[in-house]
Symmetry: C2
Subunit: 236 residues, 2 copies
């Protein structure tokens, strides 16, 4: 008996995040515009639900954590070596997401040739909204993603700017790793990424391009990460 | 009702792999010996079970895929900000594993400052054995890991050479990401890594140091990855 796809953050097994899939974002960080897609993994323990009582993003003390608003694709039908042609039949829905990133740790990792997993993997670093059924999004290339920090618009970009479209992303990813039901592909962020600090309020939304109403919107409060972990105390 | 920990590869949600945790292995690849632990993520879809009818490692065509035999730690009790002092109470067992690595893709990623996820994440890139109960391993620092390719001994190293011991690894990892039941920590590989080619037979085992019998051993056949994925055809 399979679980409802709506509860994917509770049992889905992987988050595949595409890097630099919007040219303007690649450029704003000083990176080349990619000629092929690439991805990194985030742990599913990094989900922070917009439906929580107090949706919260936790920032490790002293870290420069950036917001990256993204369209999440939720896989329904599993597959491997999926062709771009049949890719959309594997999609069970969409969601609004933030790919929170400790930019300082990512910059260090990039310089050292080390993995991005820590920079991208802290608890609460993948804020995610409710499943949006495919019926509500007939064309995922005709959406606009926006994000505000303390009411100020920071990101506002159309998914039509994606360098690699969803069918190509599914083809690419599934040529490396089998996609399972409940897996999530984060499709990259438009330009305008920037810092989130404790005390900030982050609002974001997704709408059909040109429409006034959002298909989904969510709000998170930013706090300093509590606890006395090795990372937090600077012991490592 | 919780599932039996023995079936962790079927439902566990993350694989955290520690890099360069044996000094001799760090050196053999020309890397500095780390002063702090670091990790990367592998998708759980990369598990290949030693209990399968035909245990197989699939090598993408033309790729230089290396074996890294490792001790896997299986988490039973979940936790966050776990102290080294209490860490061992979270361990539900161990397993023998191989952290298969497309060294060519990893070298490219390191040079380009890009994530390691593809190099480490192909289907079948995490061969894994049966759960070994903690009662069979009173001291995980007193084990020897070995690996043969076509009968020739390639890796043979004691877990006492780990730079960061299991309690420290659990403390470090859980200070970043919550550990859940069924999660796996791969604890790094001793020296002697090398290429696996289609047609090779890979044997590996784990034993108490000085003992003649293995606690667990497993065998995998290496084949070329079938299918017509984007990666396999060189289209990307
Ligand atoms: Mg990585
Ligand atoms: Mg992103
Ligand atoms: Mg390894």
């Amino acid at each position: 008996m399979s679980q409802s796809l709506q509860t994917f953050p509770h049992w889905g097994r992987k988050i595949i995040a595409i890097g630099r899939n919007y040219a303007e974002h690649a450029k704003e960080l000083g990176n080349a515009v990619p000629t092929a897609p690439f991805f990194f993994l985030k742990p599913t323990s990094s989900y922070a639900l917009s439906s929580a009582k107090m949706p919260t993003i936790e920032v490790p003390k002293g870290s420069n954590v950036h917001h990256e608003v993204e369209l999440a694709v939720i896989i329904d039908k599993p597959g491997r070596d999926i062709t771009a042609h049949s890719a959309m039949s594997h999609v069970g829905g969409y969601a609004l997401a933030i790919d929170a990133t400790a930019r300082d740790l990512q910059d260090e990792a990039k310089k050292a040739g080390k993995p991005w997993s820590t920079a991208k993997g802290f608890d609460t670093f993948t804020p995610i909204g409710d499943l949006i059924p495919t019926g509500m999004i007939p064309d995922p290339n005709n959406l606009t993603l926006w994000l505000k920090v303390n009411g100020e618009l920071k990101q506002n970009g159309p998914t039509s700017d994606m360098l690699f479209k969803i069918p190509q992303l599914i083809e690419y990813v599934s040529s490396i790793t089998t996609l399972e039901r409940g897996d999530v592909i984060l499709t990259g962020t438009p330009a305008g990424v920037g810092k989130m600090s404790p005390g900030d309020v982050v609002d974001c939304g997704v709408k059909t391009t040109g429409a006034s109403a959002d298909l989904f919107r969510m709000q998170f409060r930013v706090v300093e990460r509590p606890g006395f972990g090795v990372f937090g105390t600077g012991r490592v």
